[in-house]
């Protein structure tokens, strides 16, 4: 293997398998069991065995707080499956949740690994139920003697503990600068629910109307309850393999065409120069410098919706419309429907299918490109898709192709 400074090195990587555990609002199952279910499913999907897995990557690693945010760390999975690995990485300081998958791409491209098991596991639904976890409150339900430090020092004293509040202020700024409306933003939630209706694993599948959306309670204006994703339990895994292994794989792997990981503004939820774009702007712009494809070539987009507004920011960041134009772009919802020009969040996103935290989007992009999405399959045999994850100062994007 030689290296060339101009080589788009991520193209040495492919995605060879995808797997997902049961997904539910509150499963009350051992999160390691869910994680291993997803991992074994992905390994099998790729036509590999555990003996062939020689790398592991994850987000965010085995952190204990907030409860439910992480279902397993690398060593848990390595030991449970008795894997012998040549490379591994797990952590939370990454360009979004999919930064871990991008790390895996670089590991196989560099030769440190051949088949990397990537996973993300959550049990936030159960943690908020039986475990009594508050969604965001540090230091227990009363705060106790907790004192804010780190970046939360600048938000917690002002009763702003949640990304809902931070993203709401970004959305409000977008509304102010570009005239974006709640009815436009609603299309992200309505589209997600429509797609969830044909995803048997989605959490909320009942139809949602514009009246439902406009009538539900406000969380942090302009974001209402339906603009916020749903904590759930579940795990997702993907196998990143070195491209030359394609002949050994069960099915035609998905090519990683280009990635975006840039962060060119201040790494902050309130000091970032342009709050209406967030870091998605930088990851998206970088990605398009690494490919001859253009946004017009993209046939499906699976883009983070921890809050609906983040998807709007990704739509602009990925160049599917101009800056500030995501409102008119999604208006009416036809363009982003499964049979529209840019099918979006075809599994129901985190808004309706559950907060699998970034990995759900990549899983869905792969399943769609493999033509395995069943009732929710995007028509027209799509060959080019994007998976983007992260909000605020966190953003990572992958452009994927499946050539026949």
């Amino acid at each position: 293997m030689s290296t060339d400074a101009n080589e788009i090195i991520e193209r040495r990587a492919v995605i060879s398998g995808a797997g997902q555990s049961d997904v539910g609002r509150r499963l009350y199952r051992d999160p390691l069991e869910l994680t291993l279910d997803a991992c074994l499913a992905a390994i099998d999907d790729a036509g590999l065995t555990t003996a062939e897995i020689d790398g592991i990557a994850t987000y965010p690693g085995p952190i204990a707080t907030p409860p439910g945010f992480s279902g397993a760390g690398i060593v848990d999975v390595q030991d449970a499956l008795r894997l012998e690995i040549g490379w591994w990485t797990g952590g939370i300081e990454l360009p979004g949740q999919l930064g871990s998958v991008i790390n895996a791409c670089l590991a196989v491209a560099s030769g440190l690994a051949t088949h990397v098991l990537c996973f993300r596991s959550v049990w936030e639904g159960s943690a908020q139920g039986k475990e009594g976890r508050s969604a965001v409150m540090p230091g227990g339900s009363s705060g106790g003697a907790f004192r804010a430090s780190g970046f939360m020092e600048w938000t917690l004293p002002f009763a702003a503990p949640s990304a809902a509040i931070w993203i709401a202020m970004m959305a409000e700024r977008h509304f102010h600068e570009y005239g974006t409306t709640r009815e436009q933003l609603a299309q992200i939630a309505l589209n997600a629910r429509k797609n969830a209706g044909v995803n048997p694993k989605a959490i909320y599948r009942d139809p949602m109307t514009m009246d439902d959306y406009l009538g539900i309670r406000m969380i942090s204006s302009p974001l209402c309850l339906y603009d916020c994703d749903i904590p759930c339990d579940g795990a997702t895994a993907l196998i990143v393999s070195r491209a030359e292994t394609a002949p050994d794989l069960r099915k035609t792997p998905i090519q990683v065409e280009a990635v975006g990981t840039a962060l060119r503004g201040r790494p902050s939820w309130d000091q970032f120069d342009d709050l209406t774009t967030m870091a998605c702007r930088d990851a998206g712009a970088q990605l398009w410098t690494r490919t001859d494809l253009t946004p017009r070539d993209v046939e499906l987009a699976e883009m983070y919706d921890g809050f609906s507004f983040i998807t709007m920011a990704w739509i602009e960041a990925m160049g599917f419309c101009g800056k500030g134009e995501s409102g008119p772009f999604v208006e009416g919802g036809q363009r982003i429907a499964r049979d529209g020009e840019l099918p979006l969040n075809t599994h129901g996103g985190q808004l309706s299918a559950g907060r699998l935290h970034g990995y759900g989007f990549l899983h869905e992009a792969c399943v769609q490109l493999w033509g395995e999405a069943g009732e929710r399959q995007v028509p027209g045999d799509p060959e080019v898709g994007v998976a983007c994850a992260g909000g605020g100062p966190l953003a990572g994007a992958l452009l994927l192709t499946r050539r026949r």
Binding site: M137, G143, F158, A160, D270
Partner: protein, 147 residues
């Protein structure tokens, strides 16, 4: 209507005081909003770090600003995330005139919800919280009647 920043302040999670942030969180005792500023190049360094991010100098000292601001963006929060101000309350990002990009996340107080407008002039008002031997003054912002 949010609570005025007066007698009985709501429960707040307080910041952990450090050498770097003490001037910011306690300046309200003198009615002053203070940022760490680089004596070398004049840059307001917020959130504070041990070196100036622009000239990399280490000669940083608290500097009092006007306490004026404009509303950059905001949200009316209805969700009871934590004990705190009476619902709904307004979280805002305000822009300080002393330096391009110098911002604070804060609460907008003393404003009717329907009169809030991005770009409106604001001024600082402090909310005192005693924390052991320290008195911490949270810089909140209210409409500025003089502008």
């Amino acid at each position: 209507m949010t609570e005025p920043a007066s007698d009985a302040p709501p429960f707040r999670i307080l910041p952990r005081l450090t050498d770097l942030n003490r001037a910011f969180w306690t300046g309200g005792a003198e009615g002053e909003l203070r940022f760490l500023r680089c004596n070398g190049c004049g840059y307001y360094n917020h959130p504070p770090t041990p070196i100036c991010p622009i000239c990399h100098g280490k000669d940083l000292a608290p500097h009092t600003v006007s306490g004026k601001a404009t509303l950059h963006t905001y949200t009316v929060n209805h969700q009871p995330w934590m004990p705190g101000p009476e619902l709904p309350y307004v979280v805002a990002i305000v822009k300080l005139p002393e330096q391009e990009g110098l911002r604070l996340t804060t609460n907008l107080v003393g404003a009717e919800l329907d009169e809030i407008e991005i770009g409106m002039p604001l001024r600082v008002v402090f909310e005192r919280h005693d924390d052991g031997d320290d008195a911490i003054y949270l810089p909140l912002f209210e409409p500025d009647p003089d502008r």
